[in-house]
């Protein structure tokens, strides 16, 4: 079962996944805003997630990027059922997990595990590493008989690159990178099919980040895992993902295969996001076009009408305030196909290359968009 990777279908419809293991449709999470103490009445809602659709194929990595407050972590929590969706469906192998009986849900949960961002607060400081990694077996005893557990935990430590003799140590005796390995080992304990990783490397130092990313990559091919990889670091997401979804204010605004998103973005928010990422190459400083967005992300309690990005968009017109753009392949690209033909929720989607391809970067101007000389 190790090498049963299903590569997402190329060309045609980019979101179509060969055999989706997870299907998310119209996912919504609203947190009510209430007023009054005795007579509570709802005065509004924080629309943290406001209609998200995606598919996850077996053995695939879906990257979700977005800035703080865009709802990406709330999506993660709903996927592992830590939060109940206000509306919408999360179908695991065709069954909506919100409608399952508690017994059936328990079985599903075994197969969808989570790795958290902060390895300092997501491990109980009073438990030994052995207890932390072995705890899932207490809840799902059918996975490992009691006598077998210690051995299993040691195997897991070995798999994530930690010394199996450390089984009796406490979390504070480990560095950040090692703790994240413990978190990953716990996530693997039940042999899940899907791992939801919420910013798994953001809290780590640069030199340790690469170690953890490599580990996750290796585990994926070893165990045939599917990942939902949530992060704000665009270069890491690109490295690990097969497909990417860009979120803004509770919605996915653009989605496609990694090269489609990074090299042929058509949504202005994706373009701005990509252009804002500092490139570790001082030579690129001069001939790089940057889109600096004005203002801040609006409050999710008060989402703009029409297109939610219009308040910060340089292309916004009257239509954007009236009509909600749907996440679909823009008409302009629908017939010509090619890498720009992927779903983008913009009325005025246009291809724009914002990150110069690496091999072209050295040429004086290459095919980069014409740029007025800077004064």
């Amino acid at each position: 079962m190790a090498e049963s990777m299903s590569v997402p279908a190329t060309g045609g419809a980019p979101t179509a996944v060969a055999e989706p293991i997870l299907q998310v449709r119209g996912l919504v999470k609203h947190y009510p805003l209430t007023q009054g103490i005795l007579f509570r009445k709802q005065v509004g809602a924080v629309k943290a997630v406001d209609g998200v659709d995606f598919d996850l194929g077996a053995g695939e990595t879906l990257g979700i990027v977005g800035e703080s407050g865009c709802g990406k972590s709330t999506v993660a929590k709903m996927l592992v059922n830590l939060e109940r969706p206000t509306a919408g469906e999360i179908r695991y192998k065709g069954e909506d997990i919100a409608k399952l009986s508690s017994r059936a849900l328990k079985a599903v949960r075994r197969n969808i595990q989570m790795v958290f961002q902060d390895p300092y607060t997501s491990l109980n400081p009073r438990m030994t590493v052995g207890d932390i990694i072995g705890e899932p077996y207490e809840i799902h005893p059918e996975v490992a008989p009691k006598g077998d557990r210690r051995k299993r935990v040691q195997d897991l430590l070995d798999v994530v690159g930690l010394n199996p003799e450390y089984i009796n140590r406490y979390p504070h005796q480990f560095s950040g990178g090692q703790r994240q390995r413990i978190g990953i080992a716990r996530g693997l304990a039940l042999r899940p099919e899907i791992i939801v990783a919420d910013e798994p490397v953001s809290a780590l130092d640069v030199s340790v980040q690469a170690q953890v990313v490599n580990l996750m990559d290796r585990l994926q091919s070893e165990f045939g895992l599917s990942y939902v990889f949530i992060a704000h670091d665009l270069s890491i997401v690109r490295h690990i993902s097969d497909r990417v979804g860009v979120m803004y204010l509770g919605r996915i605004v653009e989605t496609g295969r990694d090269a489609e998103i990074y090299d042929h973005p058509t949504h202005p928010y994706t373009q701005a996001l990509l252009s804002a990422v500092p490139v570790p190459d001082p030579e690129a400083r001069e001939h790089r076009e940057r889109i600096i967005l004005s203002g801040d992300v609006p409050s999710p309690a008060n989402i703009p009408s029409g297109c939610r990005f219009r308040t910060r968009c340089w292309k916004a017109q009257e239509r954007c305030a009236l009509e909600v753009p749907l996440l679909a392949v823009p008409a302009a690209f629908r017939y010509e196909g090619g890498p720009a033909a992927h779903p983008s929720a913009c009325h005025f989607a246009e291809e724009k290359q914002v990150v110069p391809p690496e091999e072209k970067r050295d040429l004086p101007s290459g095919e980069a968009p014409q740029e007025p000389p800077k004064s």
Binding site: E67, S207, A210, H239, P282, R290, I292, P357
Partner: protein, 327 residues
């Protein structure tokens, strides 16, 4: 030279022993220049900056040696009172976390105005007018009506801009920015770095930018000093360091960034972990993690060699910098 740090040593005496956080750091910044100090957590980059500003917690911290020359005068010989006159007026600091660096129970106007009442002896009314002017300068919309607002009423990006305004208030000659954009989202980071660079040019200030982000450094720095375990392991003009790193640690950091042509392959990762500062390896502190390490690296502390081949004035604390440069 505006600021020159020479052979600075800082220790922390803790219950578990002495942590040698800074072990002989030297760097300098000129007017209008941007020096980026790059390093991971625990490399001593922030402690060095705190020593320069004179805001190191003593105890447990202790400066055990070295000089900090600001406009030619050694700040370490100053009395606390004289030091305070330098701080804020001549050098200022921007911190990472604006929310915990601003006072939550005072309006931002009061906090900005305090700079003028304390250092310039202005009246409160004039100070308030100055505060509005500053907020305008860092592009806070409707500054005049927001001057009475409290820190929690601003977004993260705006709070960071208020921190910048506060640092710039008295037009200091030197700004130290300690991870100024780490807590911010990329699109806001771009706004803030743009603003900082523009104001620096305008006022011809020296800027020390402390960061771990190789991307931000490439965007704004003139020179880079890379720190590891309390020492500078490499320093060079920004273009040289990215093109031809002369220290295996710098090289490892640059190679561990995901790149397009590596997609689907394993990322380069520096093996092992940064050292414990209470127990720094003998010889070169990086030797247990270094692919080039040999016997001499375990015994002899490498000096900062001049990297002569690149043609520029780079320096590298590696016995085998030539190999690193060409390998």
């Amino acid at each position: 030279m505006l600021l020159e740090v020479r052979d600075l040593h800082v220790e922390f005496r803790t219950r578990d022993g002495v942590a040698r956080a800074v072990n002989g750091v030297s760097y300098s910044v000129d007017e209008g220049e941007t020096l980026a100090v790059l390093g991971e957590s625990g490399s001593g980059k922030s402690v060095t900056a705190q020593a320069v500003m004179g805001i190191l917690d003593t105890p447990p911290g202790k400066i055990t040696g070295g000089e900090i020359l600001f406009k030619g005068q050694d700040l370490l010989t100053f009395k606390e009172e004289e030091r305070r006159k330098v701080r804020g007026a001549q050098m200022a600091m921007i911190f990472q976390d604006a929310l915990s660096s601003l006072n939550p129970v005072l309006s931002v106007g009061a906090q900005l105005g305090e700079m003028f009442t304390v250092h310039r002896g202005m009246s409160r009314k004039d100070a308030k007018a100055k505060a509005v002017e500053l907020m305008d300068r860092v592009r806070i919309p409707a500054a005049a009506s927001r001057v009475g607002d409290y820190p929690h009423q601003f977004s993260g990006g705006m709070r960071q801009r208020i921190m910048i305004a506060m640092a710039l208030a008295l037009e200091p000659a030197l700004i130290i920015a300690d991870e100024p954009t780490t807590a911010l989202d990329v699109t806001v980071q771009a706004q803030v770095m743009d603003l900082l660079a523009e104001l620096q040019r305008e006022l011809n200030m020296g800027l020390i930018l402390i960061t771990h982000d190789l991307g931000v450094v490439a965007d704004v720095a003139d020179r880079i000093a890379v720190m590891y375990a309390g020492t500078i392991v490499e320093s060079a003009p920004v273009h040289d360091i990215y093109k031809a790193p002369a220290h295996p640690y710098t090289k490892g950091l640059l190679e561990s960034i995901p790149r397009l042509d590596q997609k689907g392959r394993e990322l380069y990762a520096i093996k092992g972990l940064p050292p414990n500062l209470m127990n720094i390896p003998s010889g070169c502190a990086f030797n247990p993690r270094c692919p080039l390490a040999r016997d001499v690296c375990r015994t002899d502390v490498p000096p900062l060699y001049e990297v002569t081949e690149a043609g520029a004035d780079g320096r590298s604390a590696c016995h085998f910098w030539r190999e690193c440069l060409h390998g």
